[in-house]
């Protein structure tokens, strides 16, 4: 253990430099992007539709707007979270089912591909009838998350090394035991890859679902702000939705790194 440590530390130190440089480049790049957006707004290059970012953040910081934005934000985040949890559970469940009962696998694979190809807008009439206008966003999120998690989980379940399978077969383990001891731990890194992909899709799904007659949420704000020429509100809602996506994505990537370190 102690013999390994100095080696890894020096490796980390050697790898630090390029890592730091990429981070620096990235920060400068983002700063330049924000600056360009700000200048376009300051000089009105794209008309009144593109406000300076500083005024968008001022609008976000103004306590007078906090109830409106807060309500919309909490609605959308709740929908994304509930739908996301349902989707993760369903995706993992279907992947395990396909692995335990291989006869079902071809049908489930094909169905997953169809679900992915179905545009969420097209599903709206069916979903509204099933769950009503308020429940639709949750279902849209759940469907898109299910697909991503199913694909990544079932490709992860197939990654376990062959010798382990042989060993457990020799020991007379049943399929369920093998799944629990070998396949599921081996699938975790890919599952978390899938979570990182699903994170932005959750916010997107919630806002799409809200376009079909929901009463509150960021998606509702986008449309009503556009129709009422409330440019500052439109941008504030857009910035909030991007921040939400980034936070979810960041959390998923951090979890993915931790899992990859532990299991890979």
């Amino acid at each position: 253990m102690t013999a390994v440590r100095p080696g890894t530390q020096s490796a980390a130190r050697a790898g630090m430099r390029p890592g730091l440089r990429t981070a620096l480049y990235g920060l400068v790049g983002v700063a330049v992007l924000l600056l360009i957006a700000e200048l376009i707004g300051q000089f009105g290059l794209l008309g009144t539709t593109w406000p300076p970012l500083t005024s968008v953040f001022a609008f976000l910081a103004d306590p007078a707007n906090h109830t409106l934005l807060g309500n919309a934000l909490s609605t959308t985040v709740t929908e994304a979270a509930v739908g996301g949890l349902i989707g993760i559970a369903a995706g993992v469940g279907f992947a395990l089912l396909a692995s335990l009962v291989p006869v079902l696998a071809p049908g489930l694979d094909r169905f997953a591909a169809v679900i992915d190809a179905v545009p969420a807008v097209a599903l709206a009439p069916f979903l509204i009838l099933i769950l009503g206008r308020e429940g639709t966003p949750v279902l849209v999120v759940a469907l898109s998350t299910t697909f991503i998690i199913y694909i990544s989980m079932s490709s992860g379940l197939a990654t376990a090394a062959r010798p382990y399978h042989d060993l457990l077969a020799v020991l007379g383990a049943r399929r369920g035991t093998r799944l629990r001891l070998v396949d599921v731990p081996a699938a975790l890194p890919k599952l978390f890859d899938g979570l990182a992909l699903a994170a932005p899709a959750m916010i997107l799904g919630a806002t799409i679902g809200e376009w079909f007659g929901a009463r509150r949420g960021l998606g509702v704000l986008f449309i009503s702000a556009m129709q009422n020429y409330r440019i500052d509100l439109l941008w504030a809602a857009a910035v909030l939705s991007v921040l939400c996506s980034l936070v979810l994505y960041g959390a998923a990537v951090v979890a993915q790194r931790a899992i990859a370190r532990r299991f890979a």
């Binding site: 992915d116 179905v118 992909l197 857009a238």
Partner: protein, 302 residues
């Protein structure tokens, strides 16, 4: 750090590719094998009778499409159980009837939506690949742009459409702009990661032979990126259709998205459900075409 993020995202895209092709290969190979293993193995004499052939075909269909068949049975059953009237929830027959009796209502919207989606898809792929190649050539520029591209990639299209609509107007031009932007990001980031995936030994060979930047890009890195670029095409095909439908739903007065919206507003539910089904079929067809193109091109390159 952020650079690794995009790598992780691209790596996370990859399992979908791997799995997709796996599943497809399996599905392509499976009908006969599965059917043979499911239907009790019969002696060679009876194997070729039409009855057995039909049975084998049905088993193959059942194996591959059982969730969809289940849905088609659940739909009318569920209407019956809940006692919904036809005015609220049309049955499969109502929907099919509206498509058969009024094909003229659907033809032009389908053509418009398909044209916008395919045009935007091609344009977005071109812009993404060209930008990706240019940015890859300069480590400084790619270092500067990659994290920004990542941030822009997570902007929900639902937030983008209203802003773009106010910038470019409510017409069809905006629809194309939206699709191009949506398609751009996967093409851009996958082109860069594909070009960076060239093994060191090949780079060394080209360096020893003293080839310039341009020939390295043309003869080594761009060909190596072709599988990634085709993956971007397949990932983007359903996204392009979704983008066009969303944009049409909110903005322009043409296309399937508009039909979906206007028939919903006028409470013609069988038409709304029919256009939803047609949009789904269109999206599945686009995805299938993109997947076939991917497989053909990748087979040729590798």
């Amino acid at each position: 750090m952020t650079r690794i993020d995009t790598g992780a995202a691209a790596a996370a895209d990859a399992p979908i590719q791997a799995h997709g092709t796996d599943a497809a290969d399996q599905a392509a190979a499976s009908p006969l094998r599965d059917a043979a293993s499911i239907t009790p193995s019969t002696p060679a004499v009876t194997r070729s009778t039409p009855f057995v052939l039909v049975g084998r075909f049905l088993t193959a269909v059942l194996l591959r499409y059982w969730p969809i068949i289940l849905l088609l049975i659940a739909w009318p059953t569920w209407l019956l159980v809940n006692g919904y009237s036809r005015a609220v929830a049309p049955s499969p027959l109502d929907v099919a009837g509206d498509i058969v009796l009024h094909p003229d209502v659907y033809v032009w919207p389908v053509v418009w939506t398909a044209l916008f989606a395919i045009g935007g898809l091609i344009l977005g792929m071109l812009v993404g690949v060209v930008m990706g190649v240019l940015v890859w050539m300069s480590p400084l520029v790619s270092g500067l742009l990659t994290p920004s591209a990542l941030i822009l990639r997570v902007v929900p299209v639902t937030a983008m459409i209203p802003i773009l609509a106010r910038l470019f107007g409510y017409g069809s031009g905006t629809v194309v702009v939206i699709v191009v932007i949506l398609v751009f990001f996967p093409a851009f980031s996958l082109t860069i990661s594909g070009m960076s995936s060239v093994p060191q030994s090949s780079r060394d060979l080209f360096a020893v032979l003293g080839s310039g930047l341009r020939s390295r890009v043309w003869r080594l890195h761009l060909p190596a990126a072709v599988p990634s670029i085709m993956l971007a095409l397949r990932l983007s095909a359903p996204i392009a259709i979704l983008g066009v439908l969303l944009a049409e739903y909110l903005l322009s007065g043409v296309g399937l998205g508009d039909l979906l919206q206007s028939s919903g507003d006028r409470l013609i539910y069988q038409r709304q459900w029919a256009s939803a089904l047609i949009a789904t079929a269109l999206s599945v067809i686009c995805f299938g075409l993109a997947r076939t193109a991917e497989r053909k091109v990748v087979d040729r390159v590798t």
